[in-house]
């Protein structure tokens, strides 16, 4: 494969032809600020935050690093004072109509615009526009669309059409009237939306957010990578944890089976974990009534009854139904228990159902 030799902020990089400047910079550990860019989506170059200076021969220009590809012999500067001023200005325009509670961090939601504005010292508005021009679209059972926080980065529309292939969300209107909306400005509920939440996963500002969050949003204390407990696709996901509870489940873009995609169940289906009606103590039924019991009491009873039946009727009078929800290790132990401890091959699970 043909390669290009480039210099980025004085660092030499050798990258394949077709690499964008943003990717090449990332390869040598230089991060360029972005808003509309998402590694999961084709570049679109609308937020202008990733502008960089490039020089190749006589050519000297500012280009969008997410979009522009490297050329052999190119010199790139990513953070000149002029570029940083331009970025700050772009951010000032972006925050002009952004809700102040979001910029102040009162929502507790992650917001890439807020993070960048703080980094560039954009703490108050120079250009004021009216806030809250749009009513919330709460018609979907799973997401709330709050256009007041929308920065028109088009990540959601690209995710909806290019990742999910559903084509529900579009940019409607022109110029100052541009907004993200389903076609014909229909409420989301009245469209063929499948409630996958891919839009939410790609939104940088919380303009599209979970309608029924597990807990009020705060910054997670830990992010633990796991695997979705629903179908057999094996999608990796991130459990965002705060205190002793799951705060939210977010996309993991490194998962080999899903590369960040999740479906409605895999993204919104975790209230069961934190449900107040979870069983938390063993229960024994006595005379038709349920009584809570200690583990010792419950397991002694189970062991006694299993042993009685085995002694009286033989091991094949017992059977164990294992679970496709349990782990490999647990299934291994369960079948070992049936075979080596109870002494029967009567062990199965729901593969047939």
């Amino acid at each position: 494969m043909a390669e290009c030799s480039v210099f980025i902020d004085g660092k030499a990089a050798l990258v394949p032809t077709g690499t964008t400047i943003l990717q090449a910079a990332g390869a040598v550990g230089i991060s360029i600020p972005t808003l509309c860019h998402h590694p999961n989506l084709p570049p679109i170059g609308v937020c202008r935050l990733c502008i960089v200076d490039v020089e190749v021969g006589d050519f000297h220009k500012q280009v969008a690093a997410c979009h522009a590809e490297v050329q052999d012999g190119m010199t790139v500067r990513t953070a000149t004072p002029e570029l940083e001023r331009a970025r700050r200005f772009a951010l000032e325009l972006q925050v002009a109509d952004h809700p102040s509670e979001c910029l102040d961090g009162e929502t507790g939601e992650p917001c890439e615009l807020r993070d960048l504005a703080r980094r560039y010292g954009v703490t108050k508005r120079r250009f004021m526009e009216d806030e809250a021009r749009y009513p919330l679209d709460e018609s979907s059972p799973v997401v709330t669309i709050d256009l007041n926080r929308c920065i028109l980065c088009r990540r959601c529309t690209r995710a909806c059409s290019l990742v999910q292939g559903q084509d529900i969300l579009w940019i409607m209107g022109r110029g100052d009237e541009s907004r993200v909306s389903p076609a014909l400005s229909l409420p989301l509920r009245d469209t063929a939306c499948v409630s996958c939440g891919q839009c939410l996963a790609h939104c940088p500002t919380g303009a599209i957010r979970d309608k029924h969050p597990l807990r009020p949003p705060v910054r997670p204390e830990a992010v633990v990578t796991s695997v979705c407990p629903y179908c057999g696709c094996g999608c990796q996901l991130d459990l965002n944890v705060s205190g002793e509870q799951i705060l939210r489940v977010t996309s993991n873009f490194d998962g080999p089976a899903n590369r960040g995609s999740l479906c409605a169940k895999g993204r919104f289906g975790y209230h069961f974990v934190e449900s107040p009606d979870r069983l938390t103590r063993p229960r024994i039924r006595r005379d038709g009534r349920w009584e809570e019991a200690s583990w010792d009491e419950a397991l002694d009873l189970v062991a006694t009854r299993l042993r009685e039946i085995r002694d009286r009727h033989g091991p094949d009078a017992l059977a164990v139904l294992s679970s496709a929800k349990a782990t490999n290790e647990e299934n291994y132990l369960i079948q070992k228990f049936a075979r080596a401890v109870l002494g029967t091959n009567n062990v199965d699970h729901c593969a047939r159902l």
């Binding site: 059972p141 292939g165 029924h212 830990a222 633990v224 695997v227 407990p229 629903y230 057999g232 696709c233 094996g234 990796q236 080999p256 089976a257 479906c263 409605a264 919104f268 975790y270 209230h271 069961f272 974990v273 979870r278 069983l279 938390t280 103590r281 063993p282 349920w290 583990w295 189970v302 062991a303 009854r305 299993l306 042993r307 039946i309 094949d316 009078a317 017992l318 164990v320 139904l321 294992s322 679970s323 496709a324 929800k325 349990a326 782990t327 490999n328 647990e330 299934n331 291994y332 369960i334 079948q335 228990f337 075979r339 080596a340 401890v341 091959n345 062990v347 199965d348 729901c350 047939r352």
Partner: protein
């Protein structure tokens, strides 16, 4: 795609299917219902439920008769061609199409398109397998793939999409009555000797019984004690009235679960287990990829992981099983299971491993059968059409087929507790074709009654072209309007899988003063 509503049941694989379509791939969908992918397909073969063998034999007939098969692959890697030829000769396209209830041009066109696409992949799920001919249906699919050389190469294969997060792993681990971990047969003395040496006890010789047979064995008194872990047969088994009667008769029933399920309600002891977020371990997905799950939060109350409960109980029964970590359990699995031998937790960070992974430096196996088949040559099977166990008649003139919907999952113990998912599909709806709806004076949203030989449910109607005239579809997730009160427990004699996809029903508009809800044939429940 055969009997798979992929965009609803495996949505992330569905995304890839739709991407392939946008890139110009041809799609054939064989499904009685007009699913989303069926609507996008070049050929939608809306076969009568349970006529897969006729349809697939008809396609094999076309591929052979028109010389579209891969002579080189068949000669080098298969046997049984003459047997297959002799069988499918009896299924000319016109006859096969008539049995399956599809236009003959579609059947012929689909056969040609499948044979022409190089490579072509087959995907199937339980729409194909939950029949009294389930295993034969799979053999017919394998015939097509073998005839066209579509095995052992990228983008090809016969791919079952597994319906639960770890149904692949549960099977791999030997949670099956006839095999030990890694599909090692319990009746093989060498295998038993190996496990007996590792576990230090003599092992039972005779194969055990399957889930459906367990229910019958309790009813007949042969089985006395049942230990149910993380399953809810009281909603997911066919013929729930029978299941309930049987489980009610169990001398001892213990249920280990997160919630007080319909099955737990019948138990004598209920043990609280933890969710995937509260424990370490691995799941194996539908592409045989072993991936780590990690404990993220503390256990709820006194709830404990399934494995820990089992080890505690083992000790009380005189056989201590002691492991310091789940990684140590995996090490024991690897020692005893050839296809997992190279697996260890250190290797499972990141993208995981696809089995077979026979050595610690083996990279895993994304594609099976590249150079050979386990038995040497793959066998082509001549399979004859057998109709479903229960066919429509004067008393029960319609066919019911069951399945899942996008926003719910199994018996809703998980999805039913999420307000968003619950709101998307709070109640079951029966899909009815407009012709049948008009004949019976039914509109969408009307309460209707479905009656089979085993039970009755009342649910709301959804009038839609997704189902053909004479066919109704009802999802099985719901405790109220439980589809499995109606379904037929007849089993495939080999795979022991019940025919959940076909039973005969009668559709009625309930009289306003009549019974409501649901009932067993004898009026119970």
């Amino acid at each position: 795609m055969v009997g798979s509503n992929t965009t609803e049941q495996h949505p992330i694989i569905g995304i890839e299917m739709k991407k392939a379509l946008r890139a110009g791939a041809a799609l054939i969908v064989a499904d009685p219902r007009r699913t989303e992918l069926a609507g996008l397909a070049q050929f939608h073969l809306a076969l009568r439920p349970g006529t897969d063998i006729a349809l697939l034999n008809g396609m094999a007939h076309v591929i052979l008769a028109e010389g579209l098969w891969d002579r080189e692959f068949v000669a080098a890697r298969t046997e049984g061609l003459e047997e297959l030829k002799a069988t499918v000769e009896a299924y000319p396209p016109a006859l096969a199409a008539e049995i399956a209830g599809v236009p003959v041009e579609s059947l012929v066109g689909a056969a040609r398109a499948y044979a022409a696409a190089k490579p072509a992949a087959i995907f199937y799920t339980m729409g194909l397998t939950q029949h009294v001919t389930g295993h034969l249906n799979v053999l017919c699919l394998a015939n097509l793939a073998l005839l066209t050389g579509n095995l052992g190469k990228p983008g090809a294969g016969v791919n079952p999409l597994r319906g639960q997060n770890n149904v692949q792993g549960a099977s791999d681990m030997g949670a099956l009555p006839n095999v030990l971990p890694g599909y090692q047969q319990v009746h093989d003395p060498e295998t038993r000797k190996k496990f007996e040496a590792a576990w230090g006890v003599p092992l039972p010789v005779a194969s055990g019984i399957t889930v459906m047979e367990m229910v019958d064995a309790i009813a007949s008194g042969r089985l006395r004690g049942l230990y149910v872990i993380g399953e809810n047969p009281m909603l997911t088994d066919p013929d729930l009235c029978h299941t309930r009667e049987a489980l009610g008769r169990a001398e001892f029933l213990v249920v280990q679960d997160l919630f007080m399920t319909e099955t737990a309600a019948l138990a004598q002891v209920v043990l609280p287990a933890v969710s995937f977020a509260e424990k370490d371990g691995t799941f194996t997905n539908t592409e045989r990829r072993i991936q780590r799950i990690r404990r993220a939060i503390p256990r709820k109350g006194a709830a404990r992981p399934d494995g820990e409960i089992i080890c505690d109980l083992s000790a009380r029964l005189g056989h201590p099983m002691v492991y310091r970590s789940q990684a140590e359990v995996m090490d024991e699995i690897a020692r005893l299971t050839p296809s997992y031998r190279g697996v260890s937790y250190a290797r499972l960070e990141g993208e995981g491993l696809q089995w077979p992974c026979p050595t610690p430096d083996h990279p895993g196996t994304p594609i099976l059968h590249v150079t050979g088949f386990p038995r040497g040559r793959a066998r082509l099977h001549g399979v004859n059409y057998i109709p479903p166990d229960e066919r429509p008649d004067a008393e029960f003139p319609m066919v019911l087929t069951t399945g899942r919907v996008l926003h719910q999952y199994h018996s809703r113990t998980m999805t039913g507790r999420s307000p968003g998912l619950d709101a998307l599909r709070p109640e079951p709806e029966v899909e009815i074709n407009p012709q049948d709806a008009e004949r019976l004076g039914i509109r969408s949203g009307d309460r209707v009654r479905l009656v089979s030989r085993r039970g009755m449910v009342e649910v709301n109607a959804s009038v839609t072209e997704r189902v053909a005239p004479g066919l109704v579809f009802l999802p099985f997730h719901y405790a109220q309007g439980a589809a499995n009160l109606l379904t037929n427990p007849a089993l495939d004699p080999v795979a022991r899988i019940p025919e959940l996809k076909v039973c005969a029903v009668r559709l009625e508009v309930p009289a306003r003063s009549g019974r409501s809800g649901q009932a067993c044939r004898d009026g119970g429940l």
